[in-house]
């Protein structure tokens, strides 16, 4: 009679895994899957997966603004594009082309654009912010599109991929697999950095701005300054995504500075779930895979954006937290 309850007590008292342990176990498991992926998948799917990670990084950077600071940016194409053209500048002018220099140049380009955009747009809120960022990205688009001698205008710039170099240790041509691993490493590191940022006191202030801006100001925080730093940080990571895309595809084109790229970024965020950092990557994956699937089923000419647009609107109306919305609280703990 007495043994059964004791058994129950023992079951209940079994040490439960802490939140941190579950999180890191999950992280390691997902990383392991992603590391192993190119060994299993064909070159085509590896490439698609790499691209999803890059778009995911872009969307994740914009999540810092949308999900954590409460500002919807429709101008992330500018940062992404400047990262691309910055990388192109480094790869075309310095010989032999150096990967790390490309990243440095790309980040510098994106930081310049972000400083410009942040200075003007953070004075505005809500839709005004969204519209201004959109118009700023169009300024960069017009400049890049018409400044043909420097940017190549409509045709963009073509360059060769640098070697993957780790000073003194490693120097080899990129293959599909190492490209994937490199992108994965950058995206994972960016995720951890952004996660740390959002959990830091700084990130808490950003979330407080999202929840109640006048009160945050009343408490004594310089709201504009926090917003500017947030836009710049977001712009830097978007630029990093641009560099990765440029290195992967060996070109920089004005199309990517066009506002449709920003629109895609917002779509990834909304589909995947804002304020989760991982959600945007899931959203990018969903979007790209759905597009690939539709192209296979209905042909390349199929206007895949029509069904995806319908899904997008349905998610806004019926699932405003996105696909990963259920895990939002848990992921931010």
């Amino acid at each position: 009679m007495t043994a059964a309850p004791i058994d129950k007590v023992v079951t209940l008292a079994r040490p439960r895994l802490s939140h941190a342990a579950v999180f890191w176990l999950g992280f390691v498991a997902v990383m392991a899957l992603l590391i192993a992926a190119p060994l299993v998948l064909s070159a085509f799917w590896t490439r698609l997966l790499t691209e999803i990670l890059i778009w995911g990084l872009l969307a994740m950077s914009s999540d810092l603004l949308i999900g954590y600071t409460g500002m919807v940016s429709f101008g992330h194409s500018a940062f992404f594009g400047l990262g691309m053209y910055g990388a192109a500048a480094a790869l075309l002018t310095v010989s032999p082309p150096n990967l790390w220099l490309a990243i440095l140049f790309g980040l510098a380009g994106a930081a310049g654009a972000a400083l410009f955009v942040a200075y003007f747009s953070t004075r505005l809120r809500d839709i005004y912010f969204a519209i201004t960022t959109l118009i700023f990205s169009q300024i960069f688009y017009v400049i890049i599109f018409t400044w043909t001698p420097v940017t190549g205008g409509e045709n963009g710039l073509i360059f060769t991929r640098p070697h993957l170099t780790i000073p003194l240790l490693y120097n080899a041509r990129f293959t599909g697999t190492t490209m994937h691993w490199f992108v994965l490493a950058v995206v994972a590191a960016s995720y951890l950095i952004l996660r740390r940022v959002t959990q830091s006191p700084f990130g808490m202030v950003l979330q407080s701005i999202r929840e109640n801006e006048p009160r945050t100001r009343a408490i004594g925080y310089a709201v504009e300054r926090y917003k500017m730093v947030s836009v710049m940080l977001s712009g830097l990571f978007a630029g990093l995504a641009g560099v990765l895309y440029a290195v992967q595809n060996e070109f920089a084109a004005p199309d990517f500075v066009y506002f449709l790229t920003s629109g895609d970024t917002v779509i990834y965020n909304v589909i995947g779930g804002i304020g989760t950092l991982i959600g945007p990557i899931v959203g990018a994956g969903f979007f790209q895979l759905a597009r690939e699937l539709m192209a296979r089923l209905f042909g390349e000419q199929f206007p895949y954006l029509i069904p995806l647009g319908v899904i997008f609107i349905a998610i806004i109306i019926f699932l405003p937290q996105g696909l990963l919305g259920f895990a939002r609280r848990w992921l931010n703990r």
Partner: protein
Amino acid sequence: MGAIGDIVRSIPLDLIIIQTVNGFVTGMILALIASGLTLIFGIMDVVNFAHGELFMLGAYVGVVVIATTGSFWLGLVTSSLIVAILGAAMQIVTLRPLIGRDPLNTILATFGISLILQNYALWQFGPVARKIPEPMSSYFTLFYLQYPWYRIVIAGLSAAIIGAFWLFLKYGKFGVWIRATAQDRVMAQAMGIPVPLVYTGVFAIGAAMAAASGVLFAPLTGVDHSMGLDWVLKAFIVVVVGGMGNLGGSIAAAIFISLLESYAAIWVDPSQAVIVSFVVLILTLLFRPTGLFVATPR
């Protein structure tokens, strides 16, 4: 003094006058688009991202109707009506469920609509631009140019539509409802005004105005699926510069910005002249963030 005299003399007066007329014509079309946009914002707090696509779709419906019936004016009326119905349907299906949510949701939803409409147009009509012949072919002489009367007619028609709309807002029963809803939504509802119907009606009217400007503008450049984007961007600039929700300010800003762009086009490439309006926007945001024609609250 000599240098300044040279600069003054180097300004081509004839070009300035031609560009003033051009700028005024595009300004009136832009005002017609922007007044729909600012109306929708002022009443419903909705930034309609799909406004440019309504403009584009209006132009396409115009193309189809004109190709089948041969009458430009019939095309103008039919297109406005069809797009108004489409706009009402759009509002009921996507925006009505979002009433009461953060206004940012509406910008996302209308962005989704714009994607759908744009890709539908590309799929349905293909990437090649369509042409509408100008409904009147008479010209008058402006310096060395044969200036088409049609452009002047467009400006006049746009002004007439905006004027009629203003009268409607001022004296029409539905217009009074609209103004009452804009002032105080809750009170209007308490007084028995059917606010949801007003919302749908406002969206339909804004859509019809966008469609009308699309048809009017189509003979000047041709119709393609991406024409809406340029115009919606310009209309956004106009609406922000003129003050969100301020009808008179939007009209003034539309003409102001179009004139500036026309003058800039004398010296630089037209695609770069857009930067002038961007600069106007930045300066406005810096010094008068609520719009040029609205006093900045202190």
